[in-house]
Symmetry: C2
Subunit: 341 residues, 2 copies
């Protein structure tokens, strides 16, 4: 899949921008020699970097959208912000994808309003790869749509299954509805209606999942509304953080425990890397015309690199076209059917 | 608080009933010399035990409600089940509280239908103590009401705050709404409406919490609907389980890591106990006339003992009366106001 790909990157996205963004982009460019990056941000940041790196083009943008701004308002108002400019270049076919570690809300708004929805998709949705130590799990929606209709969840399930199959390489991914009981009749009115629709319309639907099934990777794809998904994602991240922090206190308690801790340090580091969101580098906004991937605000240079490379892979795998086909009912690229490439 | 208390216990509740239940009850009886237990279950189980233990009365019950039965139907049909009999004795004033580690759904149904709702309480709700290594946190509702109206959450917040104050001894507990952003205007339509009402009507309301705030114990009380609360609770339990399991693999990997692991074994065991649901022994159904506490299906004898003692403490703290007063607007016993006792 060494197709030439051009993507736009928001130089000003994330808590440690632009430094870690530039470092991550430099690493991504040297890893992927068929990648071109259009770097969007203040001229004094992007121009010197572009002049020093092959396959990097500077795209000056005079405005920045802050983390605290109202997403949709900021996107409408700040037309020359790095996020809006990055998405507009995709809309105008100057690039095929966009990556940012900036305000998630602003990226969702710009992706939806500037790139535009794929025809037939009711609501674009944010998916994320839950970094389980067992195996990766895709959860969707994790925050683009706080209020959902049951029928949206069928599209979320289809789009997330395409992502699981084409990007994570999971064959015949099994999708489940996040609910409060395994039995078909369990849950809120909303969950019961969504369950019925998923059973009828999502070929790879495998039933209800409970909260405990997410990190245990009982299913490959977890379908949910954006409110529950976001609460759950942050609960998983918060729980891991508190447990690792407390574990560290246990290991650092005495000289003897410190010595003992040395023996498991390597394995523990590996485990922490496995459950770190950095590994997958970003959450894709599925259902818009182009790749639009949002990184964690606290992204490291490694996470930025992963995010940029994932965006390029998203483009090469033709995810947008496959989603467009499944949305309009053309089954060629539907998960499990092999289809194109 | 050494008041004499009588509570009913479901001898047949839980995965390892009746053996662990009997062991837990025996431990609770020897710990609390002002406690009398009415043990409900098959005559051949409860009579021999009662004859061998002081302050234990056998109450034969010929039926058992299984974990897989439809809760409300089973409660209506099996009038001589250990759960229904246990709740009826509270209704008839033969006891002041009921404890079971059996079907949560059946206990919620029996608590609500048999004991009855406190006047003015729209929906009884299930609270639970989230065993955070930082400090305990009360979350409510965690599963009694999958579909809620925003106004229910104000009562959930009041009831859970009473529990946090009177049972966990948290002075002036700070309550937060589980939501997908800290700002007041964030969240689903439902969450936004609930936020407005909580701000107006819950004196100890402190704003929105996110998933990451639960185990971090940023707030003392987390208010949510029963769907989100249940998903979150199971997500926390599942995440801890997967991480501890993977950590164990890391520690058991080689002879050297095994040796190193020995040094932190004590501290790790303590941490695992801190985050184990066994520590608090059960989840109270708040808003019914009497104490009604439900243990984990996988309860150990230690968890049963904790649950039985918590039920007795619930009675002694007068939680039901305080909730009745706050529900009808009498402020004497409201959290933070000192009031009665």
């Amino acid at each position: 899949m060494p197709d030439k790909v051009t993507i736009t990157v928001d130089a000003m996205g994330g808590d440690n921008a632009p430094a870690v963004v530039l470092e991550g982009v430099a690493d991504a460019l040297s890893t992927d020699s068929d990648l071109t990056v259009i770097l969007c941000g203040p001229a004094e940041v992007v121009e010197p970097f572009a002049s020093q790196h092959e396959r990097c083009i500077a795209q000056p943008a005079t405005e920045i959208i802050g983390m605290a701004e109202h997403p949709a308002n900021a996107v409408r108002k700040k037309k020359d912000s790095s996020i809006v400019v990055g998405c507009r270049l995709v809309k105008e076919d100057a690039a095929q994808g966009f990556f940012s570690a900036g305000s998630t809300g602003a990226c969702l708004a710009a992706g939806t309003l500037v790139m535009g929805r794929i025809k037939g998709i009711a609501r674009p949705a944010l998916a994320t790869v839950i970094p389980s130590p067992v195996r990766p799990v895709v959860m969707c929606d994790v925050g683009a749509n706080a209020d959902c209709k049951p029928e949206y969840l069928v599209q979320f399930g289809r789009m997330a299954s395409v992502y699981a199959e084409r990007i994570l390489g999971i064959e015949n991914p099994r999708a489940a509805l996040l609910n409060i009981g395994e039995e078909d009749t369990k849950g809120s009115q909303f969950a019961q209606e969504a369950h019925e629709l998923l059973k009828e319309q999502l070929p790879n639907f495998a039933g209800n999942a409970e909260g405990g099934d997410i990190l245990a990777a009982t299913y490959d794809v977890i379908v949910t509304d954006g409110f529950t998904g976001n609460v759950c994602l942050k609960t998983i991240e918060g729980t891991s953080k508190v447990l690792f922090k407390t574990l560290k206190d246990v290991m650092m308690a005495t000289p003897v425990t410190k010595l003992g801790a040395l023996t498991i340090k390597g394995g523990l580091k590996q485990l922490m890397a496995q459950v770190s969101p950095d590994t997958y580098g970003g959450a894709p906004l599925l259902g818009v015309k182009g790749a639009c991937i949002v990184g964690h605000g606290s992204s490291s240079a490694y996470a930025i690199k992963s995010g940029v490379l994932t965006t390029a892979n998203f483009v090469r795998a033709g995810i947008t076209d496959i989603i467009a086909q499944t949305a309009t009912g053309v089954q060629a690229g539907a998960p499990g059917n092999g289809g194109q490439e």
